[in-house]
C-alpha cells in the first residue's frame, strides 16, 4: 500500500500566503494557471476561504505541467515576478480569471492591470529569479507526491478526496474539529 504523501517542504515565510499565520487549517495548493481544473478550483478555494475565514490559511505554489499547458510556465513566472512587487494574489486571481488567454501579450497586460511595474517585472523574468522559484516549487511538488493539478495538502498531508466545494468543506470541517 502506498503511504500518505506528505508535503516535503513546510510552509514558510517565502511562501505566498493568505489568511492568518496561526490558522488551524493550512491549505497548500500546487497549481497551474493554464490547467482548466485549477481554473474550476479557483472559485471553490475562494469560497472555502470565506467559509472558514479566520481558521484557514491558503498557500499557492507552482506546478506548471508545461507539456500539456504551453503557457503555464510563462504565466507562473509572471506571477512570481509580480509577487516580488507585493501583488502576488492580485495577479494570481487575474490569471485564473483570464485563463483562456495567457499569451505573452496578454500576460503583460495583466501585469499592468494589477498596477505592477511592467518594465521591472520583465527585467526580473529576464534575470531568471522567477524561473528558479517556479522550478523549486515544481521539484517540491514532485517530492511531496503531488499527483496532478491541482493537488492540495491540508496541514501537510495530501488530500486525495474531491475538491468540489461540499466534500472539500466537509473534510476541512473534520480536520478542524479534530484539531
Amino acid at each position: 500500500m502506498s503511504e500518505r504523501a506528505l508535503l516535503s517542504i513546510p510552509v514558510g515565510p517565502e511562501d505566498h500566503s493568505r489568511g492568518p499565520l496561526d490558522a488551524k487549517l493550512t491549505v497548500v495548493e500546487y497549481g497551474d494557471y493554464q490547467c482548466p481544473y485549477c481554473g474550476q478550483a479557483y472559485p471553490i478555494v475562494e469560497k472555502l476561504m470565506t467559509t472558514f475565514a479566520d481558521s484557514m490559511r491558503l498557500v499557492f505554489r507552482n506546478l506548471p505541467l508545461a507539456d500539456v499547458h504551453p503557457h503555464a510556465e510563462a504565466a507562473a513566472e509572471v506571477a512570481e515576478a509580480v509577487g516580488l512587487q507585493g501583488k502576488f494574489w492580485e495577479i494570481h486571481d487575474t490569471l485564473f480569471e483570464n485563463q483562456r488567454d495567457l499569451s505573452a501579450a496578454a500576460l503583460l497586460r495583466y501585469v499592468a492591470d494589477v498596477g505592477a511595474d511592467v518594465k521591472e517585472a520583465t527585467k526580473e523574468i529576464a534575470d531568471g529569479g522567477p524561473r528558479q522559484r517556479v522550478e523549486a516549487d515544481f521539484e517540491s511538488a514532485i517530492r511531496s507526491g503531488a499527483n496532478g493539478t491541482p493537488t492540495f495538502f491540508v496541514n501537510g498531508v495530501r488530500y486525495d478526496g474531491s475538491w468540489q466545494y461540499e466534500p472539500f468543506a466537509e473534510y476541512l470541517t473534520q480536520v478542524l474539529d479534530g484539531s
Binding site: M1, E3, A66, D67, G148
Partner: protein, 151 residues
C-alpha cells in the same frame, strides 16, 4: 503479489510503437516501470502527466521511465501524442498482460494491471516497488526517492 525487492526483474520485449520493440535489458541505468490500468482513464492521464513533467528529475539521475499498460501500440501512440507523454508507453497486449503477470500486478477481474511502480537497479533487480489503489494516483515522489537511493 507484486514482485518483491531484490528479485531479478523479468526481461521483456514490448512494442513501444507499432513497429519498434523495447527490451528491459537495453537500458544501462535504473529503470522506472509505471504499470497503469488504461490509456485515457482520468487517473492514468494525470499520473502520466505528472511523471512526464517529472521526467527531467529522473533523467538527471540517469533513470529511464517506461509506462506499461495492456493497450495496443496504436492506442498508445494517439494517447501519447494527445497527452504529450515524454517517455515510451509499452504495449503489454500480446499475449495480453503477460508482463503484468510476470511482475505480479495483473488484474484478472477486469483484464488490466494494477497501478504499480517498480524501480529496477543497474543489476536488473527490483530495488523498490509500490502498488496503489487503482483510483489513487501515486505521484512520483516514492520512485524518485528510490532512484536517488541507488546513486
Amino acid at each position: 503479489m507484486a514482485l518483491e525487492t531484490g528479485v531479478v526483474a523479468p526481461e521483456f520485449g514490448l512494442l513501444a510503437t507499432p513497429d519498434q520493440k523495447v527490451a528491459l535489458s537495453e537500458f544501462d541505468g535504473p529503470v522506472v516501470l509505471i504499470f497503469y490500468p488504461a490509456d485515457w482513464s482520468p487517473v492514468c492521464s494525470d499520473e502520466l502527466s505528472v511523471f512526464s513533467a517529472a521526467s527531467r528529475l529522473f533523467h538527471a539521475r540517469g533513470a529511464q521511465l517506461l509506462g506499461i499498460s495492456v493497450d495496443g501500440p496504436w492506442c498508445h501512440e494517439v494517447f501519447k501524442e494527445q497527452r504529450k507523454v515524454a517517455f515510451p508507453l509499452l504495449a503489454d497486449c500480446n499475449p495480453k498482460g503477460e508482463v503484468a503477470k510476470a511482475y505480479g500486478v495483473y488484474r484478472e477481474d477486469d483484464g488490466t494491471s494494477e497501478r504499480a511502480l517498480f524501480v529496477i537497479d543497474r543489476d536488473g533487480k527490483v530495488a523498490w516497488s509500490e502498488v496503489s489503489p487503482v483510483g489513487v494516483n501515486p505521484g512520483a515522489d516514492g520512485a524518485l526517492r528510490a532512484v536517488e537511493a541507488l546513486s
